[in-house]
Symmetry: C2
Subunit: 772 residues, 2 copies
Amino acid sequence: MKKIMLKSVFLFSASCALTAQAQQSGKNYVQYVNPLIGTEKMGHTYPGATVPFGAVQLSPDTDTLQYEVNGRYNKDMYKYCAGYQYTDKTIVGFSHTHFSGTGHSDLGDILVMPTVGSLQLNPGVAADPASGFRSAFSHSNEAAAPNYYRVKLDDHNINAEMTTTTRVGMHRYTFQQGGDGHIILDLVSGIYNHANKNVWTFVRVENDTLITGYRQTNGWAKTRTVYFAIAFSKPFKSFGYRDAGGNNIYRGFWGKFNIRNNFREMIDRQLRAHFDMDVKDGEQVMLKVALSPVSTAGALRNMNQEIPHWNFDKVKKQGQEQWNSMLGKVDIDPINETERVNFYTAMYHAFLSPTVYSDVDGQYRGLDQNIHTARGFTNYTTFSLWDTYRALHPLFTILNTQRNKDMVTSMLAHYQQSAHNMLPVWSHYANENWCMIGYHSVPVIADAVMKGSAGADANALLDACVTTARNKQYEGLEWYIKMGYVPEDKSGSSVSKTLEYAYDDWCIAQMAKKLNRKDIYDEFSKRAQNYKNVYDASTVFMRPRLADGSFKKEFDVLNTHQAGFIEGNSWNYSLYVPHNPEDMIRMMGGPDRFSVHLDSLFTMDLPDKYFAETEDVTRDGIIGNYVHGNEPSHHAAYLFNWTNTPWKTQEKIRMIIPKMYKPTTDGLGGNDDCGQMSAWYIFSALGFYPVAPASGAYAVGSPLVKSATIRLENGKTFSVEAKNQSDANVYVQQVTLNGVALQRPSLAHADLMKGGKLVFVMGPQPNKSLFK
Amino acid sequence: MKKIMLKSVFLFSASCALTAQAQQSGKNYVQYVNPLIGTEKMGHTYPGATVPFGAVQLSPDTDTLQYEVNGRYNKDMYKYCAGYQYTDKTIVGFSHTHFSGTGHSDLGDILVMPTVGSLQLNPGVAADPASGFRSAFSHSNEAAAPNYYRVKLDDHNINAEMTTTTRVGMHRYTFQQGGDGHIILDLVSGIYNHANKNVWTFVRVENDTLITGYRQTNGWAKTRTVYFAIAFSKPFKSFGYRDAGGNNIYRGFWGKFNIRNNFREMIDRQLRAHFDMDVKDGEQVMLKVALSPVSTAGALRNMNQEIPHWNFDKVKKQGQEQWNSMLGKVDIDPINETERVNFYTAMYHAFLSPTVYSDVDGQYRGLDQNIHTARGFTNYTTFSLWDTYRALHPLFTILNTQRNKDMVTSMLAHYQQSAHNMLPVWSHYANENWCMIGYHSVPVIADAVMKGSAGADANALLDACVTTARNKQYEGLEWYIKMGYVPEDKSGSSVSKTLEYAYDDWCIAQMAKKLNRKDIYDEFSKRAQNYKNVYDASTVFMRPRLADGSFKKEFDVLNTHQAGFIEGNSWNYSLYVPHNPEDMIRMMGGPDRFSVHLDSLFTMDLPDKYFAETEDVTRDGIIGNYVHGNEPSHHAAYLFNWTNTPWKTQEKIRMIIPKMYKPTTDGLGGNDDCGQMSAWYIFSALGFYPVAPASGAYAVGSPLVKSATIRLENGKTFSVEAKNQSDANVYVQQVTLNGVALQRPSLAHADLMKGGKLVFVMGPQPNKSLFK
């Protein structure tokens, strides 16, 4: 069942958000975004309020399952990566940090819930929300828009509204029926909570309208602390806490006091605090919740600078203006209104992360856990690089050039603070969580360096890449460097690692060439060939090898959980030589044979047993054996461009989009992965895609839009026009750049950034002579 | 059995330490200090290396008992407040933080132990040191001097030497026999450890000669973090760790790595790390261990600034020069060499704490857990104020005027950072531990203000005192303010609290008077009379009252654990009206009757059953029913000055000193209590004592020295001379100040600070007409 959102529901009051730019163009892009898309099943997006790349993601959590039950991983946890599942009937509270679209999780920090009536300090269970402070809610009383979320909490008869600035969340609670009001501050609740996740919790009551504190956790980030300051618009008359973990800390002489009631320091491992006030019918109580990676003093500075007032509507309007400005970077004429929603929601999801991770004064916590000051840049965190190096960061080089520079500088700072002398792999909140494989900071950096928009010193960046790529302690690199491949008996996921290392190494070589670092160019150009060492000509697939040089006997090209691979089976991963498709195609029998082979990817019948073994994607996220819901195949449909059948790329792109991107809560075919899935859509809808970031070129596909204007930060505009565009006319008949026909299905980044016009002529049948 | 230390043992190589001042005078005071005094039984001093008021106290720990066994308090722990007991036969390692003389404890952070042979990562047990990394040792191979400690570790055949600067400990290990050398870094070990004391531990290997990290604990200080940086003079070839608490933290994707071996980030709850190196016979390995309350970056800055070299002897010499300068502030001619050792060891113990708690750049962690910068002062911590307000801080107003200003300023900063708007009660390491009773920051501040040496703004200090004294949440103050006494049925230790509040309130009144704050003067002058409200004329003792106004029926004046009192029985506490002894004596029947009464304190026979209930003091620490080992009686012997028999004060002082202060390991009659016991000795040996700090006057007793020269920070000197001084001539025949006979047994602080000469003439019989 598809759930088409009615505009009237999700566009609630977004109409006032108009930027200067949008006002000039008369356009309100915010209205086209539906943050509820992807909140059901595997999208793992969140519906709450945030500004572009905001440090605060203020969003409802619909459940607080434990990461493990009876000591074993709780598989139901997986779908709560963003804290919210659309099919749930209750809300536990509103927490201030959420990943968008990840496939593993953490965060959900500083959960706040307003209640009325008898004090309840446990969340209760979904089946019986009255058993705790959680509340039933209905989607008919819910609205989500960029930087605004609203829901009625049925159990408490409270209308809860949320908006944010970069570092501060603002809550407006309307108690429709007065009584004993409580603001619950639950420092236990969190996403991917396990029994010992909380390391320490600390709350100070500064006065009767201000509290400060922190939550220190051991989760996906091994050691992470979120500091906060919370201002109340109405003084609380009393307060207190309970420790959810029992009396398991040493109290010493604090035992002399009644520390759980009205004692102005609350310190424990598992704090749940309450702040009580008498509320009248219809009374509004507002909160400002500021976060900081540095200290409670930092949080307070963030609050005072970003929201020095209590005007909720002003905060909402300012954030929506920011969004309108960001969304308006690409103005499209879509083929229909559904695609307009898809497009701007993809833009919205693409501009959520990486997130700001420095205070208003530039201070941030570094990977070494020391406090640093970001001088000349804004520090970012949440680098899901195995995903986002593919299309998201390349998209930023076009649409968010300056931010991408700061992200690259943040990655370099991470490297400089790393005990391992490594660039980020998967990094969040001053922690390296080591998720996934490869060293995909490298392509992000190389792409920026090659495009001349890296920000930091290019040689320093290259050195960081080289040092990272030479770390023999990291994931089979010792053998990869020695033997030219990762032996499966030495380090798992060996084929995936070998292929991705080879591409990353090619990126290093390109940078070295540009910077005249010949020895590095030679070393890494050689390493870039290592994809050949895992190719098994006898099966025409990439296959795990052992340290003795032999291929691993057990081998099933369709099994994602086959030894040698990760988040992709051999069939898909065998297509992964983005830096040299020509040679890959040659190895696999030449362009014509490869074209047929690649075609079969989309048409073959994947037996159910393999699907059962695939996570991260819905059944709908798979087309034949093409798994769009996981990233390793994201470039695959574009590979026809390197055969004699580039029209098949056009056909496949236009076939994939409607299957994988729908304007419904369950409309995303897999995890959005911090915007990578959305970035694929945006590029593809515009008619081109970065098959090999750092190459400086985009593969040309088939645009979905009728036309688009890209407003570049350098003041220029680049336009795309698709003449004769329609659902049926998916084939490119001809394509011109500034009036000159493209000879190859390739667009240079440099040409794009000069501004200009790319004009497609579309038709219902392939133009098989195009690009020949 | 008395253990007289031979100079040749404890004065090992202290002879080179001569300050410019001492060199001028040709004196080496360091040689007279024996840090081993008080390390046996109840003294709770530590023998290790430190500089005056140093942030690092680098000292051997002889046991690591758990605070509780099977969930119950382990009474054996009590004697390990300073980590070392002289009668122990083994050393677990050398840790970097120790209280001196406290009666409750914490610290023992960052324990280091050098070993050779097979790696052992558990401490083992005292009965079988070979069962772990601990080692047997012998006092014949041990030496302790100011800023120097040496011991041979028999199990490892390693000679270990320690010295320090303010914030850095330096270790020199001589491996007499080479082999597989290890430096053990035990972040589990600590003083007053309980099962969950460690909150978090973190180590980074920056390179093969430098590590950084921190230890976060929940102990007497509820939430405390000690950051460190450790430099090795020799590179380690390998390293690793084990978690003493088992695999109880979430490892996530770190599980991909062999994180326990050579992985450069070690993060766990209960880390014990090892650093391995091949050592040759006779090879020396040195460590520099810097601490910081702020960050590992702060620790590294402290190291680089304070010890930018590897010259152990230079560090030792510089620290001993500091000590010589401090000790030389009072140059004495003692009645014998034993008293010279007693005197300078008392000076040494008096100048150990409060300790510096800010980095070289002035940054420190405040009570609010935020990082502050001490501008214009050095921040101090470890305020054992219930003890030290009596004589230690008054001593500082004479000998360490500038430091005492900084201590007062540090206390004001604590107040400004306090969620409770309270001055420190018992504060250490950015924590209020709430130990003991009263608000005895007040007399310290008032004493400094009245003497014109407070440093901070006097009105701000007064406001802090007033706000503290009006906190109705604190320990019965609500009732005290309302009813004039603390009712025992509302708040325990009610008599002790009432009496001490009354004195503290008098201090506030004195400040208010000086600052022309009449309303405050009136309010607190009234409160200062509250001692009268717990006086029971029918028994002539202070007695607990209930909220209904009646005296509590059950009442035993000798029982320290009697409801109503703390660390003192009613007999002793009934003497506690330091601000108005005249009125107290009047209440208790007048001077003559009181003289007899007070005399009986020293001569009465305390039944053994009461002794069994007295902690903190040895049997020797009690004379009759006079308990010198606890503080409430410290002024008692001086109260004869307010009767017609001041000669009894002289007699008692000279009787108490040799019983309570002996130059032996078990020579202190009770906890030294951060120097309070030592300060009592120093004052009394010089012939006067501050019965009522903030009064501006000292009660004159009977000097122990033959003569003394006090070198004041204002450049002046104040001399004491005792003519005809001898063990037998304890009675003062006459006393003159600058040639003028004293009319009363009282010395004004103002006169002392002007410089001058106090001359006593001593004799074997009382001069009963003196002061009449």
